[in-house]
């Protein structure tokens, strides 16, 4: 393989606290006082891409679809190793449905590949932290005619393709996939690096390529978003110091655990 060309798709998502507030129209998270991030899976996907490009010589492109504010996530990616940033602008104020997102991403990937050659590897997060649809990567790969395996916890490049691993309850599954290929990455595949100050400052110098999109929407519609009613739970306090051990073991005995 020559220079490995890797493209990672990320999504800007809010970083909420212990209680998520919904907007009055019940369509979105009220992110007024929230910061934004990307899914931990995607941070790991970027790290995996960066590590592969460091090992094999490569370049990492980050692609996102979202509002112009998503530039923050693109720059974050650049501050930890990405070298090229692309935004498919969605100024609608709402997330696109998974079908449309996949159409937009695949159209953009095709356009980018037409300009500067195919990507050897497409990486996605296993699922988005917010909408959790588990499908954008898979749909995009299908539209691009690339094989994809989701939920992977390990990836290595080998001659002609990639070896990916998925940890399951019973053991580890190994997927040997010829390139070009796509994978959905799970957190735990690596411990992503934090940006350095120099990385951050360098990321400011990259330009963001903005792509317009006219994809057709899909067939899934949000009716409303809400917080499930909280079941008022009276927590039984067993104690406030180590003397609580007796009460704890009583409970364990009651449950038949000791």
């Amino acid at each position: 393989m020559g220079v490995m060309r890797i493209l990672v798709c990320v999504k800007r998502v809010p970083a909420p606290g212990a209680r998520i507030i919904i907007t009055e129209d019940e369509q979105n998270i009220d992110s007024g006082h929230l910061g934004f991030t990307m899914s931990p899976h995607e941070e790991c996907a970027i790290e995996a891409a960066t590590q592969l490009s460091e090992q094999h010589g490569g370049e990492v492109t980050i692609l996102t679809a979202g509002s112009s504010a998503s530039e923050e996530q693109l720059r974050y990616a650049a501050s930890v190793g990405a070298s090229s940033l692309v935004l498919i602008e969605n100024s609608s104020g709402n997330d696109w449905d998974p079908q449309r997102t996949a159409r937009a991403l695949s159209t953009a990937v095709r356009a980018l590949e037409n300009e500067s050659g195919n990507y050897d590897l497409l990486l996605f997060g296993n699922e988005a932290a917010d909408t959790g649809g588990y499908q954008t990567g898979i749909r995009t790969a299908h539209l691009l005619g690339r094989p994809i395996v989701n939920a992977i916890n390990g990836i290595e490049a080998e001659e002609g393709g990639f070896v990916a691993r998925r940890e399951t309850l019973s053991g580890v599954e190994v997927y040997r996939v010829t390139g070009p290929a796509a994978f959905g990455v799970k957190e735990g595949i690596n411990l992503p690096r934090y940006p350095t100050m120099k990385g951050r400052l360098a990321s400011k110098k990259l330009s963001v390529r903005v792509i317009e999109d006219h994809s057709e929407p899909g067939e899934q519609y949000r009716l409303r978003l809400f917080r499930p009613a909280e079941v008022a739970k009276e927590t039984v306090i067993l104690g406030t110091d180590s003397n609580a051990a007796g009460a704890v073991v009583d409970l364990l005995e009651e449950m038949g655990l000791v």
Partner: protein, 325 residues
Amino acid sequence: MSGILVLVDSCEADATETINELLTHGRNLANQVNGTLEAVTFDPRYTDLAAGWSEHGVDLIRYLTNSSLQDYGPQAWAQGIVQITSLVEPVAVIACGSDRGHEVMANVAAILDAPFVANCLSVMVGEPWQASRVQWGGSLIEEVSVKTALPIVSFALHSCEAKLSKSSEPLEIVFHEIELDSEAIKTVVTERTEKPAGQSLETSAVVVSGGRGVGSADGFDVLETLAGLLNGKVGCSRAVTNNGWRSHTDQVGQTGKRIAPDLYIACGISGAIQHWVGAMASKTILAINTDPEANMVKKADYAVIANLHDVIPAVSHEIVRRNDR
């Protein structure tokens, strides 16, 4: 066919429990459409499991094979299911909200360019169909409608209680030799290493989990001791893996493991949403935390408001003392 096609696979997750929950959803849906519930499976153990499936509402088993398919392959399975759907024309295709269930359904949906609604809590048949599904691991619920000829759905783990729907009866088994293209074969598992049999975090009845409050990698020793005494496993929060104190395989949460033990002991875990959603299916939660208003404490059944490094050794000591009696 005017029924529901359900992907059943015993190889993943807490198989029996989650399959029974999935089938309960499937039966429910089949009843809504006055149709049958047909299991589609690649699972060679189907003959052993058929009785249990039947009890939970399955009317028919479709066993799919292909000579070049020796193991799991998401795109191969999806191609097979797509072939069955065109053959039997089900009302909907459903699966478990597991890695495989999500992955296969997403591939099916991608092939058919149809919507896929993941992690549903309930599905209402109608024109259009509506579903309520979880976001943020269950902290939020989204209601969606889908305009499609063939709804494709996965059900969130632990989203219903498994119910027996009828007495077990021998099931008709239909064999299907499916066709696979070369692309689909690319993503079939080529090797696997089996873990030694034993408990995992997901199957353990007791999980002793630590958060930032544990303070260090060594701090987990006391949790290991207690877990050992309770025949349980040690878990952790994302803060812990981020600090490099434990491996990500121990992480409970939205991007880690979703577990449902009988007892979850959360030690020094504040209970951020991303952690809570991994543990909320636990039957009983005991929180040990210095902060009485930590989210974990508020949501727990029981709590000890104290330093975990004081309490846990005392609990271990007390267990040993009583055992010695």
